[in-house]
């Protein structure tokens, strides 16, 4: 079992693959559904997703160094495993295309309006393929380098946003008459949080220490990070205007100024440099998840060939997705797939494993 990551790598892997795309637009999405009480929705969501992540850890620990995608493993026979693998393959593929599409749209609408999508996609997909080929341990190491850098830059920028923004724009933090909308808005946090599903491809040994606390801490941390993102944008842009922006974070960062530091006048450029590194690693982790599943489904196939074919599929689908306005449709499909991936299939597998374990103990 070489492909086992440390708790720290696990934290960075989950973080980076979760905040990949949604960091740009979560403030708009949540402003529309939860308003200024968004922190309640995000906090509740992070607890719910932490529980879902803990269930995946439970499954992987029970499988002791194997994943649900390994053929002929404990929970079910080969055919059942094949169909589960097929579902997760489709789920990660949709997620990957969604991330690529979101990233390309950000680049196209905010930075390079004249550069064709095929060129941006080609440059990024080739790099992602290389990372995916190297495997999860290397991806974990890369995440370990990029994430702290990104976290440092993002923390400074969020802090400046609160410092330079208007505190009135974020108040009141709680409105009792909006309690119901805080709960219903949780449906809009599915896609922003679903990156933790990469846990399904991370093998974990039964004796691994503190994996539960690591994932719970990570999901709660992501929740706090999103809260800082959302309220930073509210403070800078104003709640009423934010809903008209498709990428409020970029616009909010462009308003942050550091007049005292001459060489850091353009904070958006600094953020984007580090932010794009993070996006690439995040997308690479999802790409890697697809490669891992296909490798397990077709054990005899060449990994390089799988990497190339996966890249070609992601590239073509993202290119097609980039031609039309299909992001809302993708969000809908992804939301349904995510619920099944995190809240139905994994708990079911855990239940089967526990029942089987109990039965084998009895016999």
């Amino acid at each position: 079992m070489q492909d086992i990551v440390t708790n720290r790598q696990l934290f960075f892997l989950i973080f980076i693959s979760t905040v990949t795309a949604s960091i740009m637009d979560i403030s708009k999405t949540i402003a529309l559904s939860a308003g200024r009480g968004a922190w309640v929705t995000i906090a509740l969501s992070s607890v719910v997703y932490a529980a879902a992540a803990a269930i995946i850890i439970g499954v992987n620990k029970t499988l002791d160094g194997k994943t649900v995608f390994d053929p002929g493993n404990k929970p079910a026979g080969k055919i059942a495993v094949f169909f589960v693998s097929l579902f997760y393959l489709s789920f990660f593929f949709t997620l990957s295309v969604y991330y690529c599409n979101s990233f390309i749209l950000v680049v196209k609408t905010n930075f390079l309006p004249n550069t064709p999508i095929w060129s941006d996609l080609l440059a990024s997909t080739t790099l992602l393929g290389y990372i995916a080929y190297k495997g999860i341990t290397n991806a974990g190491r890369l995440a370990e380098i990029v994430t702290p850098l990104f976290l440092a830059v993002a923390s400074i920028i969020f802090l400046l946003m609160f410092f330079e923004g208007h505190i009135n724009y974020i108040l009141p933090l709680y409105d009792a008459s909006e309690r119901l909308s805080y709960l219903t808005a949780m449906k809009d946090t599915i896609v922003p949080f679903i990156g933790f599903a990469i846990l399904t491809v991370v093998p974990i040994k039964a004796k691994s220490q503190r994996k539960y606390s690591a994932v719970i801490f990570t999901l709660v941390f992501i929740g706090l990070f999103y809260i800082a993102d959302v309220y930073g944008c509210y403070a800078m842009k104003g709640f009423d205007e934010i809903i008209f922006e498709n990428y409020p974070l970029i616009d909010a960062i462009r308003l942050v100024q550091l007049p005292a530091v001459e060489f850091l006048q353009r904070l958006d450029v600094l953020y984007m440099t580090v932010g794009f590194m993070r996006v690439l690693v995040g997308k690479a982790v999802i790409y890697l998840s697809i490669v891992e599943i296909v490798c397990k489904m077709f054990a005899k196939a060449n990994r390089l060939l799988i990497v190339v074919l996966t890249g070609a599929a992601i590239y073509s689908a993202s290119l097609l997705a980039g031609q039309g306005q299909i992001k809302p449709l993708m969000v809908k499909i992804l939301s349904i797939e995510s619920i099944a991936a995190a809240f139905i299939i994994q708990p079911l597998i855990l239940l089967i494993l526990k029942v089987k374990k109990h039965a084998s103990k009895k016999s």
Partner: protein, 388 residues
């Protein structure tokens, strides 16, 4: 098959080709850098005036390249590109047709709207700028009652371009607590809100220099009035709020003598109440007045200070009341954003009401306190302890 190193080099090279081939790349020397824009509307037609800094040429005196006004000894030459048309699109096309390079708007320091245009409405123009990737949303949006040409005939002392001269003047006033900043983003935020009332700085040319002449009052997207800068101290205190951000010198007369103080607003708390369907506000304002200098050599005593404090307090009360009266009763629009204090305190009620209607009926009460501070470097009454 190529050896491994050659393959890596080929891959890297292909990447650089892809990245360097960004279709958006354009050399800065091939762009006209715009530093100020004036938008005008007269007799149904629009006009744009763009101040273009020519960074590739330096002039000794005045403007060049067919333009007027412009550069000083050290800075870049400037020229003015003009465009006229029936619509914004037509006007912009007319400008593009007059210049020989693609215009770069990321360096615009001031966007000036003439009073003629502001009175007719700026919403469409604001939306036009909102969608543009080029404009920085932190730039100043200003109003002027002057003719656009007046601006480009001045030779600013503090910069070689009109755009930067305006920016430096406003930033300098802002840093010394004598005005507030209203950026393009603030304007867009206001236009999107339930209370679209705000003030935009108004600039004019006087004695060959550009100066802040006051504030234009906007209700929605239309300019409905003007507050002269000389009478805007109360307005500036209310706009900047507490935290000592605003600072003004106040000479307080006591008979024939006067004592000058530097007055700043230390804290401002706005309490919004809503009872019996009526909105009311209580403003608690704590000012700090730091003793600067007396008009003659008399020693300052505690009795004198008490007397002066009362006079200063009355003066401040009068200015604040006048500023509130102008907003509520005269212009009938809430440019001080009292709506924010009310919304935070009563979110449910705010959602249901038409704020403008409620605001004009609202009552205000102010509690003003003035805390006198001595100047630590000078003893105005030697041998006696402060407050003398």
């Amino acid at each position: 098959m190529l050896p491994k190193k050659a393959r890596i080099i080929a891959l890297t090279a292909s990447f650089s080709v892809i990245f360097a081939g960004c279709w958006d790349s354009l050399d800065i020397n091939n762009r006209d850098i715009c530093t100020a824009v004036i938008a005008d509307q007269e007799r149904g037609a629009y006009s744009f005036y763009a101040e273009i800094a020519n960074v590739t040429a330096k002039v000794q005196q005045g403007g060049q390249n067919g333009g007027q006004g412009g550069g000083g000894d050290q800075g870049p030459a400037t020229y003015i590109a003009r465009g006229h048309g029936e619509s914004f699109a037509e006007t912009r096309l007319s400008i593009d047709n007059n210049i020989n390079k693609q215009i770069f708007l990321g360096a615009v320091q001031a966007l000036i709207i003439t009073e003629n245009m502001a009175k007719k409405g700026i919403l469409q123009y604001a939306y036009r700028i909102r969608q543009s990737l080029d404009y920085r949303k932190t730039m100043d949006v200003l109003v002027t009652s002057d003719r656009p040409d007046n601006f480009f005939s001045v030779k600013p002392e503090n910069s070689s371009t009109v755009g930067f001269a305006i920016n430096y003047t406003l930033r300098s006033l802002e840093r010394s607590g004598k005005t507030f900043h209203m950026s393009l983003d603030d304007l867009l935020q206001k236009l999107a809100s339930k209370n679209p009332s705000y003030l935009l700085s108004s600039v004019s040319v006087k004695n060959g220099q550009i100066m802040l002449s006051g504030y234009s009052v906007f209700d929605g997207d239309k300019d409905i009035g003007f507050i002269p800068y000389e009478k805007a101290k109360g307005t500036i205190f209310l706009m900047l709020g507490g935290g000592g951000k605003s600072k003004f010198d106040y000479p307080v007369m006591d008979g024939e003598e006067s004592v000058t103080f530097e007055v700043s607003l230390k804290s401002m708390k706005i309490k919004a109440d809503y009872s019996m369907g009526k909105v009311s506000f209580t403003l608690d304002m704590k000012f700090t007045a730091r003793l600067l200098y007396p008009s003659n050599a008399v020693r300052i005593t505690s009795e004198k200070l008490d007397k002066i404090r009362e006079k200063l307090k009355k003066q401040l009360e009068s200015e604040i009341s006048e500023a509130l009266f102008l907003s509520r009763a005269y212009y009938k629009c809430d440019y001080f954003s009292m709506s924010e204090a009310f919304r935070i305190a009563h979110p449910g009620a705010y959602k249901k009401m038409i704020w403008k209607d409620e605001f004009v009926k609202a009552s205000f009460s102010t509690n003003i306190k003035v805390d006198l501070k001595k100047n630590y470097s000078i003893d105005y009454n030697p041998g006696k302890e402060w407050p003398y």
